[in-house]
């Protein structure tokens, strides 16, 4: 065995250039895999955080009828006793806040915006006292102030503001249907602009005080949703069960869902992209396998007479096969070590500084909830998989060319030119 290992090692060093070229091909493939995987994993983790912090919270409570008809945002199907529910949740250690979401026609005036116009907008009415316990908008304010609950004020996402040309102090009118279906027009002044890291929110956010909407749309203290924030490590399903038990005695017909249920569009995209990563890995392995097979095929054809001689001297086929497999494994090992090292080194700036994709993400929705800088992440399992795959696959790819050479007779091998 020692002889076989030594022979395989000698063969590696005998053809240094070929060994290095094949190993580099494997290394580059593995490095690319580690970087792509890191970026996608990082984007996914950051998106999940931005979803929970700015869009869905961790858990949302809604009236079941509202949930079933949620695309219409029916104000008639609200939660009747939000204050009682929030009180109980807070007593049990949950950070919770109520919101009202509704569609409105946003009327823009020529005096402020340069020309008259109107666009549909999804309006989020927030409880200014408790919203920041669940969502993180207070850290994203870039201009003006946050909402005063007693004033006709609005806070808008910075991309939304850019798109419609809004500035602080501009007035808009929200034409909406109140609870029951009547029309109402609400004048508000833009007092704050937030730059939210979640692009979907930043592109469409329009927040107003919940008291204002309760009054104008005759909500009678009902709300459309109660949002709850949990720690990143919390078991969502377990927490949903606990919240259900707390809410049930206060109000029936409630649906409680986790953020994953609310962000199914993102999860579908993330799943598809994970599939894409697997395809990248597969392509890397195919390239590596072709390289290794080719290298081994050349090595075997160059050494067919040598093989014949070794077989004539009594070396078994399995020993010869093992020699070639170990030689290929050696190339794979060198490639994997270099690939992992390069991948890890290249990943350090990706994790620390990230890559700024704002030029692309500003006007394009790629599903991820990242506004500009996409950070990488460390994924030891992926690195280990890449390393082992490079090594093992190299050995597997040497099998076929070796088998072919071993099918030849010894005299044919000795006479081979």
């Amino acid at each position: 065995m020692k002889f076989i290992i030594s022979l395989a090692f000698k063969n590696l060093t005998r053809y240094k250039r070929r060994t290095i070229i094949t190993a580099i091909a494997i290394a580059i493939g593995l490095m690319m895999y580690i970087i792509v995987d890191s970026m996608l994993m990082g984007a996914e983790a950051e998106s999940m955080r931005n979803l929970r912090w700015y869009e869905t919270a961790s858990i949302r409570i809604m009236n079941t009828d509202y949930w079933n008809d949620r695309l219409s945002f029916p104000l008639d199907e609200g939660i009747q006793h939000p204050d009682k529910i929030i009180e109980v949740l807070q007593k049990n250690g949950y950070a919770a806040t109520s919101r009202i979401q509704f569609f409105a026609d946003m009327i823009l005036y020529g005096e402020d915006f340069g020309e008259d116009g109107n666009i549909p907008a999804l309006v989020t009415a927030i409880d200014t006292e408790s919203d920041n316990d669940v969502f993180r908008f207070e850290h994203t304010l870039v201009k003006g102030t946050f909402l005063d609950p007693d004033r006709h004020e609005a806070v808008i996402g910075s991309w939304f503001a850019e798109d419609i040309g809004a500035e602080l102090g501009y007035h808009i009118t929200l034409l909406a249907r109140g609870k029951g279906g009547f029309f109402e027009a609400i004048d508000v002044k833009i007092v704050g602009i937030v730059n939210c890291p979640n692009p979907n929110v930043n592109r469409s956010l329009l927040m107003v005080p919940i008291q204002l909407i309760d009054d104008y749309l005759a909500m009678e203290k009902t709300v459309t949703e109660i949002n709850i924030a949990l720690s990143d490590r919390a078991d969502i399903n377990e927490e949903i069960e606990k919240v259900k038990q707390l809410v049930d005695p206060i109000e029936k017909n409630m649906t409680i869902v986790g953020w994953e249920e609310l962000a199914q569009d993102f999860l579908a995209i993330a799943e598809a992209k994970r599939g894409g990563t697997s395809i990248i890995l597969l392509l890397v392995f195919i390239i590596a396998a072709v390289g290794i097979s080719n290298t081994m095929l050349m090595a075997i054809y160059e050494r067919i007479r040598e093989l014949g001689m070794m077989r004539a001297l009594g070396m078994s086929d399995s020993q010869i096969r093992l020699t070639f497999i170990l030689e290929a494994g050696g190339i794979g090992l060198i490639g994997s070590i270099i690939g992992v090292l390069l991948g890890v080194l290249a990943n350090i700036p990706m994790v620390v500084y990230g890559f700024n994709f704002s030029f692309m993400l500003r006007d394009m929705d790629i599903g991820y909830r990242i506004q500009s800088i996409m950070h990488g992440s460390w994924n030891p399992i992926s690195i280990l998989v890449a390393f082992l795959s490079g090594f093992i696959l190299s050995m597997v790819s040497a099998w076929i060319p070796t088998r072919r050479a071993l099918k030849m007779d010894i005299p044919k091998c000795l006479q081979y030119r």
Partner: protein, 249 residues
């Protein structure tokens, strides 16, 4: 005039004033009943167009429509972009049919509040019952002249929040009971839409508005003009017209 006579005259004047107010209060509701009655036909068939104008330009949709009583109606769009699309309204129900997709959709709940083909009309306006007094309380304001016609000016205040426009001010023709003009406001008194009759026609001894305009006050240069080109009233209609099967034909 003696002191006693003076008292009698004042008394008579007050009684007359009291009864005239009573007459006015009753008249306001009678006016609304007459107005509703004027808008209901046993059966009808019409062709016409809906021209929707906003800051992007004008869009014209043409249609054919059949109606029976207060509840049943069928509209079929005939303009190129919408050709074959149908809206069937039965009592409390509204169905849409899209021929390209061969799909039948029942609209209910909040979906009824959507605009019909981007106009200032909603599907809800079509399902709305025509008994105004069930939805509004009416008060008599004064009298006015609109389009050279003497009109009663009435204010309608919604009885519930399920009515789209909580306050309406309408100008009802004293002779024909058609509404010449309307102003629709929110509960806070904000004027949202204005309605105006641009043209009327006498058909079977009934004066009928054949061209009307609804303007969106909040949106500059946004209005919808509905014009009736042909109208036949009280004609025999096949009862199957207002069934779901007829939508698919």
């Amino acid at each position: 005039m003696s002191r006693t006579n003076k008292k009698q005259v004042i008394m008579v004047f007050m009684i007359v004033l009291f009864f005239s107010n009573l007459i006015h209060a009753m008249t306001a509701e009678d006016i609304i009943r007459a107005m509703d009655q004027n808008e209901n036909y046993a059966t009808s068939y019409m062709t016409g167009s809906i021209a929707t104008t906003d800051r992007f330009g004008e869009k014209i949709t043409t249609f054919k429509a059949w109606s029976q009583g207060a509840y049943d109606s069928l509209i079929e769009f005939t303009s190129l972009a919408e050709r074959g699309q149908k809206i069937l309204r039965n009592k409390g129900e509204l169905y849409l049919y899209y021929p390209d997709a061969e799909e039948l959709i029942r609209l209910q709940g909040a979906a009824l509040r959507q605009s019909v083909l981007g106009s200032d009309l909603s599907y809800e306006d079509m399902t709305g019952e025509k008994n105004t007094l069930d939805m509004y309380t009416v008060s008599f304001d004064n009298e006015d002249i609109v389009h050279n016609q003497a009109c009663y000016v009435l204010t309608l205040t919604a009885k519930s929040r399920t009515v789209a426009y909580p306050v309406q001010k309408i100008w009802v023709d004293k002779e024909t009971y058609i509404v010449h003009k309307g102003q629709y406001s929110s509960a806070t008194g904000r004027l949202l839409k204005e309605f105006e009759v641009l043209e009327t026609k006498v058909i079977d001894n009934r004066t009928i508005p054949v061209k009307t305009k609804i303007s969106d006050i909040l949106k500059k240069d946004s209005y919808t003009v509905m014009a009736i080109e042909e109208l036949q009233i009280d004609i025999p209609l096949d009862a199957n017209i207002f069934t779901l099967q007829s939508l698919m034909w």
